[in-house]
Assembly symmetry: C2
């Protein structure tokens, strides 16, 4: 019997020039690819490969399916967008391992990092993450929203650059408005705010504005929102979009 | 005259399987590569390419040199470790642009993201960044240390996972000890702490411990320190290093 392997691999934001050789090699040797359907749609099956596409809401089921196939000797890749370790599939797989069949702890498992959305957005803009920053998921399915608000307040008061993942929710459309209300109470109106949509994919768009003028409703499911620190600034360029960056010396008390 | 281009490119932590195709293509077309000597030492010059190696302390000089060569029509790559946008060269280049020759604002500049140290460390461990996290540089050269301490306190109180970059400093060897004193005052002694050294490079080592037992002196210039949230946990494995992960549902008030 062949020995199963499990790679939890990040495709990055979308463009193939951002997929690491480690991920490409993992995809090439796989017998089974498991993932959210739009991520699998970016890939072409090799002869003999099986694609197992699923809905976005069933991450734990997907993780258990991957672990079962691996235990049976398949070479499995769990396909994730961005970096699987940042608001993506890796945590779900380890949750399934912790709660599941004890034999799963002995499987050959490799996490393959990828370019996360905040990195892609930062690269397009200049260097907005050039200094201390935090990443917060607004997804309210799995944690209490008051904790999200507490973290946004703390990040604003300590003047981190803030990357907001999953800012739009059909089930909880008011959350992003509440988050902006907290940010507006804690930070200057001229703080840089960026809506970075579908970076590296068709429909890519960057919108640069200020906290006072930002319309939170602009954030959709494909958007990452960046909120600058007090030091984040624009470099204006005639005829071109400004650069946005945070100096390395950013910040004072 | 040829038109100059500037790529600010991240090599990732070290292993070439983590270098994106975008970065590989940028390196291949370059006439001039500029960077901190140990990063350039990872690369082999193509015929006709010039390597400009520098010391780590002269980031702004290096940035200005890159911009001058680009303005003269060279195809320049500023070579950075990790992701150039995360505690690396991109911010220095944009600082140089803001303060420098106005013509530099019109140059053809591309930031090429890379795998940052926290992502490589997370991939080796499991999914410790599986939930809200922040990244803080302990480097005290460019910002007041009380601001670092304020951010660590805020991150601990709001229960972020914390990635500490540049934890060791020859000039300021006490800073990491002060940082740990703050963390110990704010967080439980059994909080997971990881020292991830030289991930993806020769000498790679991971040390998993607790906040109560951690020795901050273990952090050297090649180490990233991860401090878990209250929810970060270990999955023990007989005969193998434990997995470390932070559940997606992490956190309560």
């Amino acid at each position: 019997m062949s020995v199963g392997t499990l790679h939890i691999a990040g495709l990055g934001p979308g463009h193939e020039s951002w997929i690491t050789p480690e991920v490409t090699a993992a995809l090439a040797q796989a017998t089974d690819l498991i993932g959210y359907a739009p991520y699998l749609a970016r890939l072409t099956p090799s002869p003999g490969q099986r694609f197992h596409a699923s809905d976005n809401r069933v991450e734990l089921d997907r993780a258990r399916h991957a672990l079962e196939l691996t235990a049976r000797g398949h070479r499995v890749v769990v396909v994730s967008g961005g970096d699987p370790g940042i608001f993506a599939m890796a945590a779900a797989v380890f949750e399934a391992i912790e709660a599941g069949n004890p034999e799963w702890r002995g499987l050959d498992i490799t996490v393959c990092p990828g370019i996360s959305a905040m990195q892609a957005a930062a690269a397009r803009l200049g260097a907005p993450l050039g200094h201390d920053f935090c990443a917060i998921s607004l997804s309210g399915n799995l944690k209490p929203f008051p904790l999200v608000i507490k973290r946004i307040k703390a990040a604003a008061e300590a003047d981190f650059v803030i990357a907001l993942y999953n800012p739009a929710s059909k089930a909880r459309p008011d959350d992003i408005h509440e988050a902006f209300a907290v940010l507006r109470a804690a930070k200057a109106g001229n703080t840089a705010v960026i809506f970075a949509r579908a970076i590296g994919r068709p429909g890519e768009a960057v919108h640069i504005t200020t906290l006072a003028e930002a319309d939170p409703a602009r954030a959709d499911m494909s958007t990452l929102v960046l909120i600058g620190s007090n030091e984040t600034r624009l470099i204006e360029r005639p005829g071109l979009a400004p650069f946005v960056y945070t100096p390395r010396s950013a910040g004072s008390l």
